[in-house]
Structure formats: C-alpha cells, structure tokens
Amino acid sequence: MLKSLTCSTLAFALSAGAALAQTDITWWHGMGGRNGEVINEISQKFNEAQSACHLTPLSKGTYEEALASGIAAFRSGEHPNILQVFDAGAATIISAKGATIPAEDLIKGAGKPFERSDFIAGVRHFYADSEGKFIGMPFNSSAPIMYVNLAAFEKAGVEPPKTWEEFEAVAPKLKDAGYIPLSASQLTWMMVENFKSRNNQPFATNNNGYDAIKGTELIVNDDNQVMMFDKLKEWADAGLYGFYGAGWSDNQKPFEEGKVAMWIGSSGSFGGLQKTAVMPFSAVFMPYWDAIEGAGTQSFIGGAALFAMAGKPEAENACTAEFFSFLTSPEIQVYWHQNTGYVPVTEAAYELAKAQGWYDEQPVAEVGIQQLMLPGGEWTKGYRMGFYPQIRSIMEREFNRIFSGEVTPKAAFDVIEEEGNALLARFAKTAG
C-alpha cells in the first residue's frame, strides 16, 4: 500500500506540474480496508482515463464520521466536491435542499447521457426524490443475504430455508446436529428495514417518508413487526437463534468459526468471508414470511451513495459529472463489484459480469443482485426519515433489552415508535 501511495503521490506531483489547467476535485468517503483501496484504484483509473480533471479521494473514517465531517466542512465552506453518504443518513442530506446538486441534474447539465432505467430496479428509488429524480448517485450498494454453512446443512440433511416457516422446520435439526442454527448482524437493517421490504410492509407514514418531512411517523409496533421479534426471542430462548449484541462482527464471528449454520449479513461481506470462514459456505436470499400476503419482494439497498455538493465552481461540477458517468460505466462497475462484493448498480454492468463468467466462478456474488431484482412492491422503494441514525440507536438499545429479557418485543417497539416519532418531529422542525 505504501508503494502505491508513493506512486500516486509521484503521479500527482508529475501531473500537477505537467498540466496546470487541470481541475482538481475531492471525494470524501467512509470506507476503509480493501474497499478503501479499491476506491483509490478507481480514482487512479479515472485520472488516467482523462486529463481535464484530477480526483483525490480521502477516507474520513466510518460512514457516520464521513457525514459528520462533510457537514462540518460545508458549514465552513471547505466541503469536498463529492461526499459519500450511507443509507441511514440519506434523509439528512437530501432534506437539506441547497447542500447538494441532484446527481441527475448535474449529469444531464454536463451534456452526458443519463437514463433512470439503466439502473437495476432495486437501486432506482432509494436515493431519489418522490418523483424518481436521482439526488444521490448510487455507488456501493448491498443487500442483506443469508449465508449458509454447507457442512452444517449436509450434516443435518436439510436444505437452506426460503421462508421463516421453513426455517422453523429445519432449525431444530440443525440444532440437533450441533449447530446454532441462526445469527444475524445489525438487526435494524435485517429485521426491521428489510423485514419491511422483503414482506412488503409499510415502514412509515407519508409513503415511507418520501412525500413529506412533516408528519412522517414510524410504523413499527404493528402485529407483523412485533411477531418477527416475538419469534426471534422465542428462537433465542429455544437455542435456535444466537444474539451476540449490536456489534456487526460479534454476530459474524461464530459463523466464520463454523459454529452457526446460517448468518444474515451483507452481500458485501462475501469478500471478507472467503478469507475468514473455516468451512465451505454459500448464500441464499434473506427469508420472508409465507404467512404474510404479498411477501417475497425485493430488499432495500444498503450501503451508500455519492452526493455532489453545492457551492462549487462550474468547472469542478463538470468534473464531478464526468466522474459520475465514469463510475457507472460497466467496466468500472464490474471492477468494483468483483473487488468488493458490492452489487453492480446498472443492468449493463450486471450483464457484463455475467458474460465474463464471474457468477460461474463465484455464484454467491450473484445472490445480492438477484434479490435486488426480485419483483418490487408498494413498500420496497426505500424510506426517508430524518435523524434516522439516532432512531437506529434507539432500536439497538431496545433490542438488547429484548434479548436480555428486560422487555417484551411489543413494549420495546412501543418505546421505539414513541421516541422515534419524537425525533422525526424534531427533524421536521429543523427542516421546516
């Protein structure tokens, strides 16, 4: 890494000297590890592909830190051209009209081609306004999928479940075979947000918050949502589900060690799992409830999008538009997809990866994108709620209390709804 860093610094120094007319743009993101390296590689590809613009990516830590830094920088006029904002922070930046230039306007304004239908169905709406105009540029998109420990299923002589009903049938056999049948990371994303999408259930009033900021309220203490957690608690008590707290990796680890038969994680976890899992594994769609009518729909995209920040000179905006177009080109999307495990965001990129035989080699890599391409429903476009990171924190707090037996799921969701709605009302005041 040090070497590539030196190389890029050198390249930067040389190019800065050679072409003074070059326009510099910056990109702040919240990715580390291998993903951060791939971002540097993509930026380098962009810089090599054309000479008018020079892009410098900079990691600002985690998603939350990247958003906080971007906000602080915006307030002092020192913001980057491009800011990566994660799914839960989407409402914060989209509601601040004047902080960003809608990606669609930016690209079209620069005279570049842009078609909404080029993007795969699952990513079209999440970062768009209620009319479907792209505000953010979908970038690293992931889906929650269920990884299965093949050794465990072979030993128990059962098939991976498609629905939670099937799960209830196979879980005791996996337990008898000596495994903890299920664990799941980030229950907020898996068992609330994507419980809503996979089962086509409303998540908030005002069309999941897309239509208006004022008056948007959570819908989480309904019978179906509470039933999901009643079941999880019941399974936990029966030894069919292992709850390891709110930390992502604490829940992933027992699966990597081969102790857990099924783990619900991100499609983006695939690259890491290949290195860490001690047993052969595969993946299937995240289960839904057969008993809920209309269930089995696509999931929300997770991950993050790129936002073009306002208040920058025309020349820099043109470069940002250039980069957004570059980023959605099939070659770059496939490169990103193959190196990180995130799904490609355009149909063309998906087709290219398929044509290259990537999925024959790595069938697990296709599960996430296929789940995002399942039929959609009325409630599968996404959600738009302000202060949502804090609402997630409330959920995490209450989930811990559910599994330590302090509160019932019903009582927990009552509290989540009450405190969450107070936050939404507060957000409506700030945005008003």
């Binding site: 939350e64 601040a96 004047g98 709110a246 930390g247 604490d250 990171p389 811990n400 330590s404 405190e419």
Partner: protein, 321 residues
C-alpha cells in the same frame, strides 16, 4: 482545575501581578523584573490566547447553539428557547446515562485512588528490588487510552475473552456488550486499571516526602500500623490526595471517552455510557447540534459546580505542610 493544581506555591505569581498596583509600593528588587506594566501581560498572552480560542470561544458557541434547533447543514436555525434543555432533562435515557455517569465516576475515582494508595504504601515498604516493583506498577500508565480499551475489549470479548472463562468458573455467564451490568463491570475495571499507575506515582512520591523523623516519632506513640497510617501518614498525604481526587474525577468524566468508544464498538445499543459520550453520539453521529450543545452546556455546569465544591469545601480541610 489542573492549572491551579499545577501552579507552584510561593511568591512568584505575586511578583508578576504586583507592578500593576501603585500601592503598596513593591520591593525594589522585584520592580527590576517588570518595569513596564504591559510586559507581564505580553508573557501570558500566548496562554491567554490558547485559552480564549480553544476554550472560551467554543463554549460561547455551544451556549449559543443550545438555544436553537438547527438543520445540520446550517440552512436554517430557529430559536427554541430552553426546549433543548427541557428535552434532554426530561428524557428517560438521558437520566439513566446521568445516573450511570455519577456512579461510574464515584466507583472509578474511589477504586483507582484506593488501590493506588494501597499499592503505594506497600511498595514504599519494599526494600529489595523496589525499583522493579515500581516500574512494573507504573508501566501501564504509558499505554494510550484507546489501546487500553482494545486490551480490555479483548479480555472481556464474548468469543475469545479470558474473563468470560473466569466468570464461568463462578457460574456467571459474562455477556459484555449485551448485558448492561456486565458491560458496566468491564468499563469500570478497564478505567480503574488504566488510572492506578498515575495515582501510584503521586502517592509514592507523597509518601517518600513524609519526614523520617515524624515516622519514627509516630512509631514510639502507636504500635498499630493502621493507626499510624490514619493519624500521621494520611493527613500528610492530604494535599496529594486532594490533587489526585480532582484529577481522577476529571479522568473518569472525560478521559474515559476513548475506552468507552473502543469497548462499545460504535454501537452503544443498551450499553452504559457517560454523558460525554452521549454528547458525542448526538452531535457527531446524530447530527443534532442544538440538542448536543445543550447537553454539553449541562455538563459544563456540572463540572463548574464540582470544581466549586472541591475547592470551597474539601480544600479547606487540606493542610498544606
């Protein structure tokens, strides 16, 4: 607080101030040092600037924004009076965190001071290999707080932590990160462990400055080691102990941030945390600037009140030899 404690006693500070007043006339020898009234101010100016820029200015900003409800990007701020304060103080979660902070602060300060003092008293008596013991006890202080947090996290980890096995021997299923009390136990343990060496160094040097003559005289008066400690050593250690009390309270309120941050791993969930951590969560993760500012102002008031109590009530009882 630290500044006051660190100032050397004696005539030096008075010498700096004296030339400003015409009456009473200063001693000629001292007048030579600063013959212009502005000179001393010039010397303290850098320090004053640092304090103004890094302390007063942000404080004023915090007080100001605590009365507003603001969109994170700064497009519109509406004046809401004391709503932010009312909201914080009436929130059940905030009160739970405040109660935990008070308990945590008392426990960490008490245990870190107590164990530090005990170790210092015992190490003071050791003659053979004294420096080896002392080095071993002091070494931990060199570890940075986030690293302390990481080490603590490994010890208490729910998958690989040895403390989990230790607790299992006593029939307790230790579930740090899931169970509130278990996590609190882990936080207190790590925070105390980190602070003991600091207290140890100061208590040890305090003990070594107790005159041998006084100790020997005490030996004639009382046979009981505990009584000698209580009546002679402890009062003579009081200035050190008072200084350490102030430092330890500050430590447990503020400097444990890194430990908590590492141990709750970004996802506080139902885990215990201190008020400072809550300010950070709401401000930096929740982007709620008004609410977070109100909380930090509350915290400032608490610290101001604590400082007054410490210096008005407790310091009066401390006898500086």
């Amino acid at each position: 607080m630290t500044d006051t404690a660190a100032l050397p006693p004696g005539p030096a500070p008075q010498a700096v101030r004296r030339p400003r007043k015409p009456h009473p006339p200063a001693a000629p020898a001292k007048r030579v040092q600063f013959d212009r009234p502005l000179t001393p101010w010039l010397f303290v100016l850098p320090q004053l600037l640092v304090v103004a820029i890094f302390f007063y200015w942000p404080s004023v900003q915090a007080v100001n924004s605590s009365f507003y409800l603001e969109d994170p990007f700064g497009f519109g701020a509406s004046f809401v009076g004391i709503d932010n304060y009312r909201e914080a103080l009436s929130s059940r979660e905030y009160r739970t965190i405040a109660a935990f902070t008070a308990g945590f602060c008392a426990l960490v300060t008490g245990l870190a001071l107590g164990i530090g003092l005990l170790l210092a008293v015992k190490a003071d008596k050791v003659i053979r290999g004294a420096s080896a013991y002392k080095t071993a006890l002091i070494a931990v202080y060199a570890i940075a707080p986030p690293v302390t947090g990481l080490i603590g996290m490994m010890f208490f980890d729910m998958h690989i932590g040895p403390f989990k096995d230790l607790a299992a021997l006593f029939g307790h299923d230790l579930r740090v990160g899931i169970d509130y009390d278990d996590t609190a136990l882990a936080l207190v343990t790590v925070a105390v462990w980190k602070q003991i060496p600091y207290n140890f160094i100061f208590f040890l040097s305090g003990l070594q400055s107790v005159p041998v003559a006084v100790r020997e005289a005490a030996l004639l008066d009382a046979r009981s080691g505990w009584r000698r400690f209580r009546d002679i050593t402890l009062p003579l250690l009081a200035p050190t102990a008072f200084f350490l009390l102030v430092i330890n309270i500050t430590y447990s309120l503020f400097d444990t941030f890194a430990i908590i941050d590492v141990m709750v791993k970004d996802k506080p969930a139902n885990n215990p945390m201190t008020l400072v951590y809550k300010v950070y969560l709401d401000g930096f993760k929740g982007n709620d600037i008004g609410g977070s500012s109100a909380q930090s102002v509350i915290l400032m008031l608490v610290v101001a009140a604590l400082t007054i109590v410490q210096f008005r009530l407790i310091e009066r009882r401390v006898h500086y030899g």
